[in-house]
C-alpha cells in the first residue's frame, strides 16, 4: 500500500508498452520513457509552459549574426559517476541522435547541424554549426529524446546520467526504481527513491492512486478527472491546452484537393459542442491553429464559428452535395472516437455523409499518413516552430498529414527562422500561420487538457503541459 | 404365527382411471417366501413397487402399506426411502438399469458394503459372501468390469449381490431368474431358500412356475391386478382351484419327446457366420471361431450358460459388435461387420431383438409409433398403413392398442419384449435373432409367442436364431441347437439328438436341469460358473 511514504519512496504510475520500453533516452517515444529519462538525464534546455526555452545544463548560449553558429556554455554539472558533464558529452549525444542507426525520434531536428564543423571549444564550451540559419535553434535542445549522456555510452541497461535520480533497477515492462542523486546540480531531490509503476489501464491507475498504492498518476481521462475533483484523497493537476485535437483532411487528393470542400468542413464543425461533449468540457476551443497559448501564437485572430449555410453553399458550388467520405479514427487517443461520432453527426447536418472508421491503434498514426482522406490526429505540446517546421513545411514528408505543400508558407517560415529580430520573427510566423489556417487542411477543433493527479499527501508537483520541463518532474516532489 | 413385517391392505393402483391393482391384501412374514405369479402385464411389478410405497410415474397408489408398523404410503419420498432403505431389498426386473454405467461393479459393491461394514476386511468378506450367494465367482477381473462388460445374467446377479449386501429383512425380487440359465437358477434357489430359513421375508414376483414351486411358501395369483387365488404353494400349485391358475400351469412346456422332421434348407442361403472371433479390450476371449448357418425356414437355437457368449455372438451377427476376425455372410455375400456400413436395405435383412428390450426403445415415443416406423422404413408403407400393420402384429402378440400407444416406461417387461419382437418381425427380415425373448413371458404368452415364431419361420422363410438358456422353451421349435461354452461352440446337433444324447458336460447339465428339475440341485454342481 502506501507504505512507500515512510521511507521516502515516491511511486509514480505510468502506462507502459511492456517490452518496448528502454532506458535509452534517445530512442524513447513513450511518455514513460521520457519521464524516466527526465529523472535519470538532463537536457541542455527545458521548456517553460509556453514552450519557450529555459536553461538547464546549458547556462547560456548565443548565435552569431547569421544564426548558423551557436556558442553554448555549460554549467557545472556532474554525472552519477561523478564525472563532469562536458561539451564532448553533448556533442557525442547529439551525434548519436543524428545517427540514422540510433533511430531517434529527434533525429530530424538535428538534420541541419553540420557536425563536421561543430566542436567543443573547451570542457564547458561548445560550438554547433548549422547549414541554414535558425534563430529558433535552442528549442531543439529541449525536445524529447535529446538528453545528454556520457560520451561513449552505448549500453543503457544501467545507465549513468546527470539527472536528479540514479539508476537502481529496471526491466522493460516492470517497475523501475531510481535513487536520489545527491550530487545533482540543482540540489539533492526530495524523494529518497522514485519508483515507476507500470499500470496501463486508466481506471486501474485512478484506483491505485485513490487507495494509496501510488502517489502520482500520469494521464487521467476527462471523466476520471471529474471524479477525482470531488475526492479528498487525490488532487487533480490539469494543464490546459495540453494536446491539439484535430482532423487532418488530405488536400493532395480528391475530394479535399478542392479548397471549397475543406472550407465547407471547416465551417460545419461545431467546435463548442465538440469540446463540451468529446472533451467533457476539459479543454479549449480550437481555432484551426496549433499551439494556442504558446510563444508565437497569433492571439488576435477571431474564433472561427459554425456556419452550416455557408458549408451547404460551398458544397453546392463544388458540385459535391451529399459528399461521402470515411473519417479514420481509432482508440489511440481516448477522445478520437467520441469526436468522430460527433463530427460525423455535425457534418451530416451540413449535408455530408461521413462514416467513422476504427483503425488499429498501434499502427494508426502511420496508417493515416498514407491512407484515407480524413483522419483524426493529435499533437502534444511542442514549440510552435518545431510543429511548423516538421508538420507543415513542404519538406516535412509523411509527417505532413494533410499533404500541405505551399511555397509561400515555406518561404515565410524560412524567412522567420533567419530573422534575428524577435518581433519581426513573430510577425512572419503569424503570417505563415494565418496562411496555413485556411488552406492546410487541418481542422483543429480543440485542445484537450493534460491531466495528471497526485495523492493529496504530495506537494511540489504542479500542472504542466507534456514535454515541458515541469511535466513528470519529481525532484521537488515531497510526500507530506 | 409371527406378525407380518410388511403388510398391504386395500392396495389400489390406478393409471388415470384404469386400475392396475385392485383391493390387494398381502402379508409378508419373516422367514416366509410369498410368490406373486401371474401372466405378463398382470401387475406383478406394480405390486412389487407398491409394497415399498413406490409407483412408476403416472400411477397413483391408495390404500395402506405398513412396514414394521410404519405406514409407508403418504409419507414424503425422502422419509419413506429412509425407512425402507435398510429394511427392504429390491431387485428390479431390469437389473441393467440399476447398475451405474460408469462405475466398476466391484467398487460399487464395496461402497455398498461400507454402509454396514467398517473395516476393509469386513467389507471384502461381505462382498465375497454376497457374490457367493448370487452365484458369481468373485474373480477380481469380474469386479473390475463396467456393467456393459457383463452378460445379461451376470448383470442380474450383480444386482442381486448388491441387494443381498444390504442384508434386508424383506426381499422383493422381480423376476430374479430371467437372465439365468437353469443350472445357475437352481443354485440361486438354493441360496434364497437358505436366506429365508434364516428369517428373511421374501416377495417373489415371477411368471416362472418352476421358481415358485421351488421357493414359495405362499402363492398369490394375479390376474389383471386382482388376486384370483391364494394359498400355500404346495397346495395351490399342485391343485389350483381357479381356472386362471389352471391355465397358467397347463402351459408349462416340457421337453419335446417326439422327433421332428428336418426341412432341408438350401446351403449357402440365409445368414451364416464363418470363424467369428472376438477378444474384449481386457483380453477376455468372448468368441472363438464360431461357424453358424441359418438357412431360411430353419430355427437355430443357441444355448449355453449365462456368460457363455450368446449375446456377443448375436451382436456380431447383427453387426452391432465388430468381430476381430471372421465374416458374416448373407446369402453367401459378406456383410459389413459394422452395421453402419451396411446399406439401409441390408440393415433390415438381419434383425436382432435385444436381451434388454426396454433399453432398445426410445423412452420418449409411444411404442406403437416406434414399431410402426419399421413398417414404414422397411416395407415402404405409408404412415397410417404402417400403424395399422403394427397394431395388428402387436395384437397378435397380445398387446392391445391402448397398451401400445403408451410410452415404453408404462409397459410391463414382458409386453416390451413382445413389442420389440413385433418391431423386428415387421422388418420382414431374412434372419431374425432373438435374445432371450421368452425370459420375460408367462407361460401362456410364451407358448403363443413361440407358435407365432414357428409360424413365421415356416411361412415367411425366415432364418431364426433363438438365444435362450431355457431349453424346454426353445426345444419346442428349434431344428438345431448350438451349445456355447466360454465363447466356443462345444456342441451342435439337431434338437432331438442333443436332448437325448448330449455329448458335453455343459449340454448334459443344461438338459438335465431343465428336464428333471430336481436332479441338478442334488447333483452337486453348485458353485460352478461358466468358465471364461
Amino acid at each position: 500500500g502506501g507504505g512507500g511514504s515512510s521511507n521516502g519512496r515516491l511511486r509514480v504510475a505510468f502506462p507502459t508498452a511492456g517490452a518496448k520500453e528502454s532506458l535509452d533516452p534517445h530512442t524513447s517515444s513513450l511518455f514513460v520513457d521520457q519521464a524516466r529519462a527526465k529523472a535519470l538525464f538532463d537536457t541542455l534546455v527545458g521548456y517553460a509552459d509556453d514552450m519557450s526555452v529555459v536553461p538547464r545544463l546549458a547556462e547560456s548560449w548565443e548565435p552569431d549574426a547569421t544564426g548558423t553558429r551557436w556558442l553554448i556554455r555549460l554549467r557545472d554539472a556532474r554525472f552519477h559517476d561523478n564525472r563532469p558533464v562536458t561539451a564532448d558529452d553533448v556533442l557525442y549525444s547529439y551525434r548519436r541522435i543524428a545517427d540514422a542507426a540510433t533511430a531517434s525520434p529527434a533525429r530530424r531536428q538535428f538534420a541541419a547541424v553540420d557536425f563536421a564543423a561543430s566542436r567543443a571549444r573547451s570542457a564547458s564550451e561548445l560550438e554547433l554549426v548549422l547549414q541554414a540559419p535558425d534563430f529558433e535553434f535552442p528549442s531543439v535542445w529541449g525536445a524529447p529524446a535529446t538528453e545528454i549522456v556520457p560520451a561513449g555510452t552505448t549500453d543503457f541497461t544501467a545507465p549513468v546520467g546527470s539527472g536528479p535520480f540514479r539508476f537502481s533497477s529496471f526491466q522493460p515492462g516492470r517497475p523501475a526504481v531510481f535513487a536520489r542523486f545527491d550530487g545533482y546540480w540543482g540540489g539533492p531531490p526530495t524523494p529518497a527513491e522514485l519508483e515507476f509503476v507500470p499500470i496501463n489501464e486508466e481506471s486501474a491507475r485512478v484506483a491505485a492512486l485513490m487507495s494509496g498504492q501510488v502517489h502520482y498518476i500520469h494521464d487521467v481521462s476527462a471523466n476520471s478527472a471529474k471524479l477525482l475533483q470531488g475526492d479528498s484523497r487525490a488532487q487533480l493537476l490539469a494543464a490546459s491546452q495540453g494536446t491539439m485535437q484535430a482532423v487532418a483532411l488530405k488536400i493532395d487528393r480528391p475530394p479535399f484537393n478542392d479548397p471549397r470542400l475543406v472550407r465547407a468542413v471547416l465551417s460545419s464543425v461545431d467546435r463548442k459542442a465538440l469540446v463540451d461533449v468529446a472533451l467533457s468540457g476539459h479543454g479549449q476551443l480550437g481555432n484551426d491553429l496549433f499551439g494556442m497559448g504558446l510563444k508565437y501564437y497569433p492571439q488576435d485572430l477571431p474564433q472561427r464559428g459554425r456556419d452550416v449555410d455557408l458549408a451547404r453553399d460551398l458544397l453546392r458550388q463544388a458540385g459535391a452535395e451529399g459528399l461521402q467520405f470515411e473519417l479514420l479514427t481509432s482508440a489511440a487517443d481516448p477522445y478520437f472516437e467520441s469526436a468522430a461520432t460527433l463530427i460525423a453527426q455535425q457534418l451530416g447536418e451540413a449535408g455530408m455523409r461521413v462514416t467513422p472508421r476504427m483503425g488499429p491503434s498501434e499502427t494508426y498514426f502511420s496508417d493515416i499518413k498514407k491512407n484515407g482522406v480524413a483522419a483524426h490526429t493529435r499533437t502534444a505540446t511542442l514549440p510552435l516552430t518545431t510543429f511548423m517546421g516538421q508538420r507543415m513545411r513542404g519538406d516535412a514528408g509523411s509527417n505532413n498529414y494533410t499533404g500541405y505543400r505551399s511555397p509561400e508558407f515555406d518561404a515565410l517560415f524560412t524567412r522567420a527562422l533567419s530573422t534575428v529580430d524577435q518581433a519581426g520573427r513573430a510577425r512572419l510566423l503569424a503570417d505563415a500561420q494565418r496562411l496555413a489556417r485556411d488552406t492546410s487542411g487541418l481542422v483543429i477543433w480543440g485542445f484537450s487538457d493534460w491531466n495528471v493527479a497526485v495523492s493529496s499527501a504530495v506537494t511540489g508537483v504542479r500542472p504542466a503541459p507534456p514535454n515541458s520541463l515541469d511535466w513528470a518532474r519529481f525532484d521537488r516532489a515531497a510526500l507530506g | 404365527m409371527s406378525t407380518p413385517i410388511l403388510s398391504a391392505r386395500d392396495l389400489h393402483a390406478c393409471a388415470d382411471t384404469r386400475p392396475l391393482l385392485v383391493d390387494l391384501d398381502i402379508d409378508v412374514l419373516p422367514g416366509e417366501i410369498t410368490a406373486a405369479i401371474g401372466e405378463s402385464g398382470s401387475g406383478k411389478t406394480t405390486l412389487g413397487l407398491a409394497l415399498q410405497g413406490e409407483s412408476r410415474p403416472g400411477i397413483a397408489l391408495t390404500g395402506a402399506v405398513e412396514l414394521r408398523g410404519v405406514q409407508l404410503l403418504g409419507l414424503p419420498a425422502t422419509q419413506r426411502r429412509a425407512i425402507r432403505a435398510t429394511a427392504i431389498g429390491y431387485l428390479p426386473q431390469h437389473p441393467a438399469a440399476v447398475l451405474n454405467p460408469v462405475r466398476r461393479v466391484g467398487s460399487v459393491l464395496d461402497e455398498l458394503a461400507a454402509v454396514r461394514c467398517a473395516t476393509s476386511q469386513e467389507r471384502a468378506a461381505a462382498v465375497a459372501e454376497a457374490l457367493e450367494a448370487a452365484r458369481l465367482d468373485s474373480a477380481p477381473d469380474l469386479l473390475r468390469r463396467y456393467p456393459h462388460q457383463l452378460s445379461g445374467g451376470q448383470q442380474q446377479r450383480i444386482a442381486l449381490a448388491q441387494v443381498l449386501l444390504g442384508r434386508p429383512e424383506v426381499l422383493v425380487l422381480d423376476e430374479p431368474a430371467t437372465g439365468l440359465d437353469s443350472i445357475t437358477k437352481a443354485e440361486t434357489v438354493e441360496t434364497l431358500t437358505r436366506m429365508s430359513s434364516r428369517g428373511t421375508a421374501m416377495v417373489l414376483l415371477t411368471h416362472d412356475l418352476w421358481l415358485a414351486r421351488r421357493l414359495a411358501d405362499q402363492v398369490v395369483v394375479l390376474q389383471d391386478g386382482r388376486i384370483v387365488e391364494r394359498g400355500p404353494a404346495s397346495r395351490l400349485l399342485a391343485a389350483p382351484s381357479h381356472a386362471h391358475t389352471r391355465n397358467l400351469l397347463a402351459a408349462e412346456p416340457r421337453l419335446p419327446t417326439t422327433p421332428r422332421d428336418e426341412p432341408a434348407g438350401q446351403t449357402g442361403a440365409g445368414l451364416s457366420a464363418r470363424g467369428l472371433a472376438k477378444t474384449a479390450r481386457n483380453g477376455t476371449r468372448l468368441l472363438d471361431g464360431i461357424d453358424l448357418d441359418v438357412p431360411p425356414g430353419r430355427c437355430i437355437a443357441v444355448a449355453g450358460r449365462s456368460g457363455a457368449g450368446k449375446t456377443t455372438l448375436a451382436r456380431c451377427l447383427a453387426g452391432l459388435t465388430r468381430p476381430d476376425t471372421g465374416q458374416v455372410l448373407l446369402d453367401g455375400v459378406p456383410l459389413a461387420t459394422d452395421i453402419k456400413r451396411r446399406g439401409r436395405s441390408k440393415r433390415t435383412r438381419v434383425q436382432y431383438v435385444h436381451q434388454d428390450a426396454r433399453a432398445s426403445f426410445d423412452e420418449f415415443r409411444p411404442v406403437l409409433a416406434q414399431v410402426a416406423r419399421t413398417a414404414q422404413l422397411a416395407c415402404g408403407l405409408g404412415r397410417e398403413k404402417a400403424r395399422i400393420e403394427a397394431a395388428s402384429i402387436l395384437e397378435s402378440l397380445g398387446l392391445s392398442a391402448s397398451q401400445a400407444t403408451r410410452r415404453p416406461g408404462a409397459l410391463s417387461g414382458g409386453q416390451l419384449q413382445r413389442a420389440a419382437l413385433a418391431r423386428a418381425l415387421l422388418a420382414r427380415p431374412v434372419a431374425l435373432i432373438c435374445d432371450e425373448i421368452t425370459s420375460g413371458q408367462d407361460l401362456i404368452n410364451q407358448a403363443e409367442l413361440l407358435d407365432l415364431l414357428a409360424e413365421t419361420v415356416r411361412t415367411a422363410a425366415v432364418g431364426l436364431v433363438l438365444i435362450s438358456h431355457d431349453l424346454p422353451a426353445v426345444a419346442a421349435i428349434a431344428d438345431e441347437i448350438h451349445v456355447l461354452e466360454a465363447g466356443r461352440c462345444v456342441e451342435h446337433s439337431p434338437t432331438q439328438v442333443l436332448l437325448t444324447e448330449p455329448r458335453t458336460t455343459v449340454a448334459r447339465e443344461l438338459v438335465d436341469s431343465a428336464s428333471g428339475g430336481d436332479a441338478t440341485t442334488n447333483s452337486g454342481l453348485m458353485g460352478r460358473e461358466g468358465e471364461h
Binding site: A19, R108, E362, S398 | -
Partner: protein, 315 residues
C-alpha cells in the same frame, strides 16, 4: 487408450504446425509492422526502411517463417523483434502471473461450481434453484469491467480491506501478497462459474432421475456418496468440456482482469505482441496457447471417454 493418446499427440503436432502457419499468415496480413510501431507517430519513411532492414523485415515472408520454424524445431522460440529478448523468457514472465491466477481461480471455481450445480440440480425448479441460478447467470452477464470496478470501488476504495491493484507486482511473487489476488480471482470466478455450474446442474438433474441413483440411495448409501460417486460421474461429460474451455480461457489470458488490476499476464502480453506486430512473440504466444488448448482438449476427451466406458462396445 494409450494408442488413442499417441494418435492424438501426432495430430497435435500437425495442428500446432497449422496454427503456426496460420498465425504467421494472419499477422503478416495485418497492416503495419514492427518497424512502424517501434518508431511511433512521427517516423519518416527512411527511418522505417532502415529499421525494417535492421530487423530483417525486408526479407521474404516464407524465408522468415522457415528461419523461425528451424529455431522452433530446435526448441528456441526466437527473439522478440522489439526488445531482442528471448521470446520464451518474455512468455515465461507473463505465464507466472497467469498461471497463478488460473490455479487460484480453478481452486475456487471447481468446488464452487460442483457445489452450486449439485445443490441446484438436485432441487431443480425449487426456489433455491431459481435464486441461485439467477445469481450465477447474473454474475456471468454483468459486464466484466463493471463488476471489477464496482468491487474495487467497494472493497478497495470504500472499505479499504483489499488493495485496489497489483501495482507493479507480478509473477509468482504475487503469491506472497494474497490480498492482491482476492478481487481479480473473484471476478474470474464469477465469470467462469456460470457455464460450469449450470452444466453440472443439468447433468445432475438428468442423472439424478436415473434408476441407478435411486437404487443406491435405497441401499442406504449416504446422499453425499450417491451424488458424488454415482450421479456426478454421469453428469460431468459436458461440464468437463466446459472446464477445458474455462482453463483455456484463463490460461489464454484474461485481458480485462489483467488490465483493471494491473496484472501483467499472458493476455496483455499477447495483445501487446500483436499490436507491435512482433511476429516472433506473436508466434510464441500463439504456439503456447495452441499447445495448451490442444492439451486441454486431449485431457477433456480422455476424461470424456472415461466417463462413458460403454462406448467401448460401439467402437
Amino acid at each position: 487408450m494409450g494408442l488413442f493418446v499417441l494418435r492424438r499427440l501426432g495430430a497435435a503436432a500437425l495442428q500446432l504446425a497449422a496454427v503456426a502457419v496460420a498465425v504467421f499468415a494472419l499477422t503478416s496480413i495485418l497492416p503495419g509492422d514492427t518497424a512502424v510501431v517501434v518508431l511511433g507517430e512521427h517516423a519518416t519513411d527512411e527511418q522505417v526502411t532502415a529499421l525494417r532492414e535492421q530487423l530483417g523485415l525486408d526479407r521474404p515472408l516464407w524465408e522468415r517463417f522457415l528461419d523461425w520454424l528451424g529455431s522452433v524445431v530446435h526448441g528456441d522460440l526466437g527473439q522478440s523483434l522489439l526488445t531482442g529478448e528471448a521470446v520464451s523468457d518474455e512468455i515465461a514472465r507473463g505465464f507466472a502471473t497467469t498461471a497463478l491466477l488460473t490455479l487460484l481461480a480453478l481452486a475456487v471455481v471447481i468446488p464452487l461450481a460442483v457445489a452450486a450445480g449439485v445443490t441446484t440440480g438436485l432441487r431443480q425448479g425449487s426456489l433455491l434453484d431459481r435464486v441461485l441460478n439467477g445469481v450465477i447467470v447474473m454474475l456471468n452477464s454483468v459486464p466484466e469491467f463493471a463488476l471489477a470496478l464496482l468491487l474495487v470501488a467497494l472493497f478497495a476504495l470504500q472499505l479499504g480491506w483489499l488493495p485496489a491493484t497489483a501495482a507493479g507486482a507480478s509473477g509468482w511473487s504475487l503469491a506472497t501478497q494474497p490480498a492482491v489476488l482476492v478481487l481479480p480471482v473473484g471476478v474470474l470466478v464469477s465469470k467462469q462459474l456460470c457455464a460450469l455450474a449450470r452444466q453440472v446442474r443439468i447433468g445432475v438433474a438428468e442423472a439424478d432421475n436415473a434408476e441407478y441413483a435411486m437404487h443406491v440411495r435405497l441401499h442406504g448409501l449416504s446422499e453425499g456418496k450417491v451424488v458424488f460417486r454415482h450421479v456426478l460421474p454421469n453428469a460431468l461429460g459436458p461440464a468437463v468440456q466446459q472446464l477445458a474451455r474455462a482453463v483455456d480461457g484463463l490460461l489464454g489470458g484474461v485481458v480485462v482482469v489483467e488490465a483493471i488490476f494491473a496484472l501483467p499476464g499472458m493476455g496483455s502480453g499477447f495483445i501487446g505482441a500483436v499490436m507491435a506486430r512482433d511476429l516472433p512473440s506473436v508466434q510464441g504466444y500463439a504456439l503456447v496457447f495452441a499447445a495448451t488448448t490442444i492439451t486441454l482438449n486431449l485431457l477433456a476427451d480422455v476424461t470424456s471417454r472415461r466417463l462413458v466406458p460403454q462406448r467401448e462396445v460401439v467402437a
